[in-house]
């Protein structure tokens, strides 16, 4: 049962290795890759089910008991995020089979994609700060390579910028880790939680907390570290854009949530103003940036910046309602933005241009794609029937209840701006008089992948109540870091006991 925690990390790794050694056999690679993606998704489902029924699952790697060894911990948040990311990844993988050219698939596309998944799942599941750094580097280096995958000038440039800013962030991450180890003498999250909880004087800890937030802010595209995102997310191959915008930036948000709910619990009020200010500016920057774009992928990328602002804002407000809305936002944005990128890719493939000015009137020729894009637009903008609306509604309500009237007004105002630029984009691409040019039909697999995600969003809206109940359970668990610590150390005792038995 406990080995279940390892599977979402191990299956992508195994798939990556097998796809490397399959040589140049295209069919074999695609088959193994899809089976691996499916198996990862299935293991994530099983993991979430077992965490839901039996509570937090902890696996001690290599029988080195914590706080010395590395552990993988799956609580509701981790396993939920793994399920979300492996689901989006599976859809993006199916899309890639139709999208990436054969030569690329014969070369390194599939191994890199699975290594990316491995890094993301490892970052969600690890219970050790340094191990988090290692998984970050795994997911980053595969994403640098994937952004530059087709080798066009602009992709290489975007990848270079993305890599540079993230390498600096990695160095700062190491600084923060070194500082934390110097002060507390441990890097295990549960152990840190215990030791920091018992401190009288915070000492340099608020500084270290802010350093961690800056590092994770680079991944989560928090202002002022967002400027690599529009380049990288719009230049990457479309399925990779969907992965980056849908899942990868959430790793940053997840990490901030994790360290502020487990490690730095008593210090949260100290940094709250910083987080709220940065989140508010991020929202404004993202919305203004998106308004100015004519390239559809760049518009979606800027919109991701703005939406990450909302997610971090909820994190910063920190009341139970705000965290539930943040989690709902994460689910909503992951599904909708991945779907928007995938359908935008279909449109780009069909028209051969990324400029929205060169499109138009496509609703008649590709009604399903137009419908899917509309659902994504409504989801991100927060139009009532879809659950994106409830995410925004709950966030604004939480801001008002916590006495942040200005932030609530800002969030509401920028929601209207979001509505404006997204519907303007939809109208420009699908509705107005068309240019009447002949369309190049996109592969069925690409169209279908977008529709699957649109279906998931509709189903999620229908089953909103169970979803919100689940997110409330996740939030309730985040409020009890003691339970996390207990689960880890209970497992530590088990591990020590079982290694001593053979003697």
């Amino acid at each position: 049962m406990k080995t279940l925690v390892v599977l979402p990390v191990l299956i992508p790794l195994a798939t990556a290795i097998v796809t490397i050694f399959l040589g140049r056999s295209l069919r074999g690679k695609i088959l193994v890759s899809l089976v691996g993606g499916g198996a990862t998704f299935a293991s994530a489902l099983l993991l979430l089910r077992s965490v839901w029924s039996w509570g937090t699952v902890v696996h001690v790697m290599g029988s080195w008991s914590p706080p010395f060894g590395i552990i993988l911990v799956a609580d509701l948040l981790s396993s939920g995020m793994v399920l979300l990311s492996s689901g989006v990844a599976l859809v993006a993988l199916c899309y890639s089979v139709g999208y990436v050219d054969e030569e690329g698939q014969r070369l390194a596309y599939h191994p890199l994609f699975h290594l990316l998944m491995m890094g993301i799942h490892g970052a969600f599941l690890t219970g050790d700060i340094f191990n988090l750094f290692v998984f970050f580097e795994i997911l980053l280096i595969s994403s640098y390579a994937l952004v530059a995958f087709a080798g066009e000038d602009y992709q290489l440039e975007a990848s270079l910028k993305y890599a540079t800013i993230n390498l600096i962030a990695s160095a700062v991450f190491l600084l923060a880790v070194g500082g934390l180890y110097g002060v507390m003498g441990t890097l295990n999250m549960a152990d840190l939680s215990l030791k920091i909880g018992g401190l009288q004087e915070p000492g340099p800890l608020p500084t270290l907390f802010l350093l961690f937030i800056a590092v994770f802010g680079v991944k989560a595209s928090l202002f002022p570290f967002y400027f690599w995102l529009p380049d990288a997310h719009s230049s990457a191959p479309t399925p990779i854009s969907a992965m980056l915008s849908g899942v990868l930036i959430k790793v940053g948000a997840y990490s901030i949530l994790r360290i502020s709910s487990v490690i730095f619990v008593p210090l949260r009020p100290d940094v709250q103003d910083w987080i709220l200010t940065l989140a508010a500016v991020t929202m404004v920057v993202g919305a203004c940036g998106a308004l100015a774009q004519s390239d559809v992928k760049r518009l979606l990328a800027y919109s991701s910046v703005g939406q990450m602002g909302y997610i971090i804002l909820g994190l910063g407000i920190g009341t139970p309602l705000a965290w539930v809305s943040t989690l709902l936002f994460i689910v909503n944005h992951a599904l909708c933005k991945a779907m928007l990128f995938l359908t935008a890719g279909v449109v780009i493939e069909a028209t051969g241009t990324r400029e929205m000015g060169g499109m138009g009137g496509l609703a008649r020729q590709m009604p399903w794609t137009a419908g899917a894009f509309l659902i994504g637009t409504m989801g991100i903008a927060g139009v009532p029937p879809l659950f994106g609306f409830f995410a925004k509604f709950l966030l604004i309500q939480a801001a008002l209840e916590a006495g942040h009237g200005f932030l609530a007004a800002l969030a509401a105002g920028l929601a209207i701006v979001t509505l404006w630029y997204l519907f303007a984009a939809w109208q420009q691409i699908f509705w107005r008089e068309g240019s009447g040019r002949a369309l190049h039909p996109a592969p069925r697999l690409m169209k279908g992948s977008g529709l699957v995600l649109a279906g998931v969003i509709v189903v999620g809206t229908i089953f909103l109540n169970p979803l919100v109940d689940f997110l409330q359970a996740v939030e309730a668990q985040l409020r009890q870091p003691e339970a996390y610590v207990t689960a880890v150390f209970r497992e530590a005792q088990h591990a020590t006991a079982s290694t001593e038995e053979p003697k």
Binding site: F68, Y154, L156, T164, L167, A171, L175, G178, G182, D231
Partner: protein, 111 residues
């Protein structure tokens, strides 16, 4: 010893930051690797680095230095080596295609 380490770390970070702000992308990469060396040194220092003491407990105990930061630094060095190698290859591809390593001339994506 700690003072010497602190000065070295400061110099590495300062030089690295200066180089990262150059327009020549190759210098940026060198600056990045200097910064990561600085970070690695700081990680070593965080374990209470003390001259000639070994990071293992010898026969009969005795003084030793905390081995964990040294293990962490090994990992971090390998990672930063890999990243630097990747960046150099990336820049070389960019140089082959554009014929320059000046970021101002390479830059196409804006806005």
């Amino acid at each position: 010893m700690t003072t010497l380490l602190a000065i070295t770390i400061g110099v590495l970070f300062g030089t690295g930051a200066f180089l990262v702000l150059r327009r020549n992308a190759l210098k940026v990469i060198i600056g990045l690797s200097l910064i990561s060396h600085g970070a690695n040194l700081l990680l070593v220092a965080s374990g209470g680095f003390a001259g000639n003491r070994p990071p293992i407990i010898g026969p009969g105990g005795g003084v030793y230095v905390d081995p964990l930061p040294q293990a962490l630094v090994l990992t971090a060095i390998v990672i930063s080596f890999g990243m630097t190698a990747f960046l150099v290859v990336l820049l070389y591809r960019l140089y082959q295609r554009t014929g320059t390593v000046d970021m101002d001339q390479i830059r196409r994506l804006r806005g």
